[in-house]
């Protein structure tokens, strides 16, 4: 029987899925990924996690609970940073502890440290993971390269060919919120249904975002901040979108700073409507939909009245 390794479908899974899954399959393991987030997963996670954790972290706990009896190993890497010299949320570094001390009856955990802040040595770190299963350097390196190629290809597929069509709305937020349709209340489908195209920060070229992030005169030391502020300035200049939605997580220390900075820069520099939607585990879909619909209506109405000038000065926004 093949050894089973479980990967929770949450947090950095969305960033690294194809790399991890293919790497482990190449090593001859059976990879089991938890199902898409559902009510039970959220509930289990909320009960298990510390009260003050943000929902993405609570959901992660739920996915771990879903997997714990189905696998021999759980892959919960300790991610310190994924880009050079940029920090990420401290909860990622402490994730193994949060899980270990909050969830009982765990299978063996793989908590290899992934740190790309100093130099790009992902290969070495994945080697360390591989050695847990086979003592064959050549095979692990091969597995890594195969997986990495697929990963790079998948990433490049996400990128947007630069089209300048209309009816675009950008959704900002953490990738693990934007990719988890249960958590984000299906916002993408809802926008599509209303005849709008959605853009996500991950669709823009990293180099472009880095370039634009430099326009911000403060310090940019989180990877996520850099992505969002870069997207913000890029949009300001390119005028690619008619509306900006920021989906934030209640209790997220990083969103509270990033959303505010993005909002202030947008309001100061242009009249693109901006809306901040905050999600928490108790927020009902009703209220969410009402606000989203109002926002969509406003965009349409603005379009029909192109010459309309806001009576409130040079910006229009809702909160």
């Amino acid at each position: 029987m093949k050894t089973k390794i479980g990967i929770p479908r949450a947090l950095f899974y969305y960033e690294f899925a194809s790399l991890w899954v293919n790497f482990f399959s190449e090593l001859g393991l059976e990879v089991i990924i938890s199902p898409k987030t559902n009510k039970k997963i959220i509930n289990d996670g909320t009960i298990a996690a510390v009260d003050d954790a943000c929902i993405p972290v609570k959901i992660y706990h739920g996915h771990v609970i879903n997997l714990r009896n189905k696998v021999d190993y759980l892959f919960i890497p300790r991610i310190m940073g994924i880009t050079k010299k940029e920090y990420i949320c401290p909860k990622f570094c402490g994730l193994p502890e949060m899980i270990k001390y909050s969830v009982k009856d765990l299978p063996k955990l793989i908590n290899t440290k992934i740190d790309l802040m100093k130099k790009d040595n992902l290969l070495n770190q994945m080697l360390e993971v591989g050695y847990i299963f086979i003592n064959d350097k050549k095979r692990i390196v091969e597995a890594y390269h195969k997986a990495k190629a697929i990963y790079d290809y998948e990433k490049s597929k996400l990128k947007l060919p630069l089209v300048n069509n209309t009816n675009n709305v950008v959704i900002m937020g953490h990738p693990y919120i934007l990719s988890d349709d249960y958590l984000n209340m299906n916002i993408k489908a809802k926008l599509k249904k209303a005849g709008l195209n959605y853009l996500l920060p991950e669709m823009f070229d990293d180099d472009i975002l880095t370039k634009y992030a430099k326009q911000y005169n403060g310090k940019v030391f989180w990877y996520f901040f850099h992505q969002m502020i870069g997207t913000c300035f890029y949009l300001l200049e390119q005028k690619l979108v008619e509306g900006i939605i920021y989906l934030s997580s209640f209790g997220c220390g990083i969103d509270s700073v990033v959303a505010e900075t993005v909002e202030r820069n947008i309001r100061r520099n242009c009249d693109i409507p901006f809306m901040l939607l905050t999600i928490d585990e108790h927020s009902g879909e009703g209220g969410f939909n009402t606000r989203l619909e109002a926002f969509i209506d406003m965009l349409k109405w603005r379009k029909q009245n192109e010459n309309y000038i806001s009576p409130y000065g040079n910006y229009l926004y809702t909160r």
Binding site: A49, V50, D52, A53, C54, R78, Y87, I88, C89, P90, K91, C93, G94, E97, M98, Y101, S102, K113, N217, G218, K219, F221, W222, F225, S248, F250, G251, C252, G253, I254, D255, S256, V257, A259, E260, T261, R264, N265, R268, T278
Partner: protein, 371 residues
Amino acid sequence: MKITFPHMGTTYIPVKMMLDELNIEAILPPNSNKRTLEIGTKISPEAICVPFKIITGNIIEGIELGANTVFMLTGCGPCRFGIFSCLQEEILKDIGYPVEFITADRFSNYEGLKEFIDRLKEVSESNSTIKIINTIRKGYKMLHEVDELAELTNKIRPREVRKGEVDKKWFNFENEIRKTYGYKAMMNIINKYRYEFNNIEIDQDKDCLKIGLVGEIYTILESYINLYIERKLGNMGIEVVRMASASEFVKEQLDFIPFLKSDKKKIYRAAARYLDIPIGGHAIHTIGNIIRGTNEGFDGFIHLLPFTCMPEIVAGSILPTIEKEQNIPILSLVLDEMTGETGYMTRIEAFIDVVQKRREIKNEGKRLYWN
């Protein structure tokens, strides 16, 4: 140039002294109070942690008193502190306060320290590098002296014979030192009060419960936001020990200088069983200090953290296990601008009951043994 700077406990004392020494006009905002928090909350993002709100309030109150420049430590780290000043600058810009921010990065290596010195030089045009280095040295010394004074009061308060004496003296101390100018004079006040505190009549044999304060450093040091927890516990007859202090924090930053050894290594070693890697903020200190304190005979710990504080939430998830395995009572108090006095006190009192019972059982055990 008139410089103001935000509060963090009593750090204003050495900071003001340093500015005095460098002939820069320092504008001291009032100690954080209800109004500070109200103003800060009004113009800060709703979801941000409460230290940000109070600090923003301090800055505004400093500006109201005539400051045109803000001095702040920033520092890069996974924690939000590093980014506070950027966002504050934007907020102030948007509401039309024309102030300049002077920030100094954390000084955890020679370059950082040099940058800090250069920053001070820039601000205080006419001073020489030597004068600045001397001033920094004095600041470092005074930081320690003030922290030691506070530690002293925490020992005396639960044992004082005439209730309220320590608090009254401390109030006078702050009032006096605020109005005093320069290193010499301020040092004199500190010495005078050290003498006075040492001469307060105390009950020598009183056996007090000993509780350690751990957690996020700002919430430990800024008594307004922790609702004066040291004073409250002290007046209940409990000896409180702050397990984080500004002087220790600075010492850790300066740890790279060979002869300045902080407790960092010991703390990390103590924490290792539960958390073997620093994850940012003070999470590893929280864990390490609890283990160290438990071994040193503390009766319990109170863990203070602002709502949404990322590193301390990680620490918080480990605490229930430590509580069980080490058999030590721990109370986590999450603080924000809505923290209400009543509910807060009820929780503290219930906790103290538990701590008291545990101590009684322990003492009885001892007696049985000796019989």
